[in-house]
Symmetry: C2
Subunit: 326 residues, 2 copies
């Protein structure tokens, strides 16, 4: 609409993962104009990490027209504090464990003082869905990321929920089993994540196999190396035990979503990440269970959707969306 030179058409997105740091320069339609990547680890200090990042970024920034075309930068990162622009005590980042690292400020200083904001990957996914994905135009929705863990990004009144301390939206850690719950990585027991993450699905499969003599394609695989992918492949072949694993997982997710509806009554629940590759195998039991468990006043009101962001670039798009939001 506005073609004055002051309009900056791009944002930088950084998907800062435990292994790789992937950068994209993205326009307002979610088109990735240029991309680059570095390893996340192997730097003694955060300064060295930022040096390497800026060295990789500089040529792709030049390629789109220089820093004056860049509005802002968004970073999706573990243990990110949105309010402070910091990464705090991230156990899996060699240059940020037992430390509070002002990564936002450091990138801003090296990139011509553009605004830089950080949040965790699930919040980034929620902003990505709102900006480019299936939540465009929605003001109230919840993204649940079903990967190694279960993360969440909650949008209410068109705003991401950060809470008082910047760490709100940990729906993977509501308690679904108050007695005899599975041990969770957060050191408590019975969390949603302990059951409904990819690792939780594999664990459920191992439990079902151990607790019965039912024949299953999964018995051909050593129990310790079963993954959620293999469970879904077996289920697609009609394996009854594998189907029950997905039914169990979806049923619990549906129960959890029924509680979340009592909180914020969203227009949609959007599922993101590895487990969604199972498609109807996971989505149908979620919807069925939600309808059975939700409070009557909310029945039939919420949509259940799979992420609209392209899998391989979804995390970078999500991170870039933070940049449009600041």
């Amino acid at each position: 609409m506005n073609s004055q030179p002051t309009v900056k058409p791009y944002v930088i997105g950084l998907d800062l993962g435990g292994t790789n740091s992937v950068f994209g320069i993205v326009d307002s339609r979610g088109e990735i104009k240029a991309t680059t990547a570095i390893k996340t680890q192997g730097y003694a200090t955060v300064e060295e990490y930022v040096d390497a990042a800026v060295a990789a970024l500089t040529p792709i920034i030049e390629a789109v027209g220089g820093l004056e075309t860049i509005k802002a930068m968004g970073i999706g990162a573990p243990n990110a504090n949105f309010y402070k622009g910091t990464i705090e005590n991230a156990p899996n980042l060699s240059w940020a464990h037992n430390d509070i690292v002002p990564l936002g400020q450091m990138f801003s200083e090296r990139l011509g003082d553009i605004p830089v904001a950080l949040t965790n990957d699930a919040n980034a996914a929620a902003l990505g869905e709102m900006t480019y994905g299936v939540a465009r135009g929605m003001k109230n929705f919840i993204v649940l990321t079903l990967g190694t863990g279960v993360g969440s990004g909650i949008v209410i009144n068109g705003q991401l929920v950060y809470g008082h301390d910047g760490f709100a939206g940990e729906l993977g850690h509501v308690i679904m089993r108050r007695e005899n719950g599975r041990k969770c990585g957060c050191e408590r027991t019975g969390c949603l994540e302990a059951y409904c993450s990819a690792t939780g699905v594999a664990r459920t499969a191992r439990e079902f196999l151990a607790n019965s003599d039912e024949p299953s394609l999964l018995r051909d695989i050593p129990a310790a190396s079963i993954t959620s992918l293999e469970v879904s492949l077996a289920a697609e072949k009609g394996d009854a035990l594998a189907i029950r694993v997905y039914n169990f997982t979806g049923e619990m997710l549906g129960e959890a979503c029924a509680d979340f509806a009592a909180f914020s009554s969203p227009e949609a629940f959007i599922f993101f990440g590895g487990l969604t590759k199972a498609g109807d195998l996971i989505m149908e039991p979620i919807k069925k269970s939600y309808d059975e468990h939700v409070m009557p006043v909310f029945k039939g009101k919420a949509q259940f959707l799979i992420s609209g962001l392209d899998g391989s670039s979804a995390a970078v798009l999500g991170a870039s969306a933070i940049g449009w939001d600041i």
Copy 2:
């Protein structure tokens, strides 16, 4: 600050309960300048109810300087739809059951077209705490009303959470017991409200009495007529069974709040209504249980407070606060 005639210094608050409708004219500090009341029931139509309300309101409006001093009206009512200004299918209101009643518009037309907004009593309580009570200055907090039922008003980023349909904030209906849960008024089982409302406390006492031979002051009362008040009186006298009833109730509320923290990480949980009269008897087990159950990242961050609104006028003050918000 501003004494120009265009400043309207008052709002009308209406606490529309199942029995009485209490009106107050309130200034911005929460001082009630004038008050009146009518019966809620006994009218054949909503028109007759509004006629009676306006007849009662007119003299107190005149007493504060006439309609030109009134900025708006807020109504706290059951089954209120904030977005539409309606009361929808309220089973306990003779002139609004099986019907959608545009009460906001009707009052507005009769009161010189001032803006009128409705919400439920728990949301009104949350706005009341933010406007006049212990949540002044807070942007993220949750009010839990512990009365006949358990209601909630959730504030995030300084805004009340209404959700996509206007009915968000039903935290009394998250599921705390997924197996063998108590039947709840919402027709499901295991809801927080079935345990932690005033009626839930009385029910817990009856269960504890029935399941043991333990001596208790409560055995002097016919089981069917035990109330939460009598349980708290017995507990204050050192009755071990009654104390266990409050410990059980507080423990479950603390567990529930730990889940709510994972959602919105509030600065404070504020408790409102009848059960809070039990003071430390209920608040201490809540805090202890919360600390035991909350995710480590949230530990020690939230305050646990009792409502700062005067009990007898709290509901009217809460309702009036809606008026400042529109």
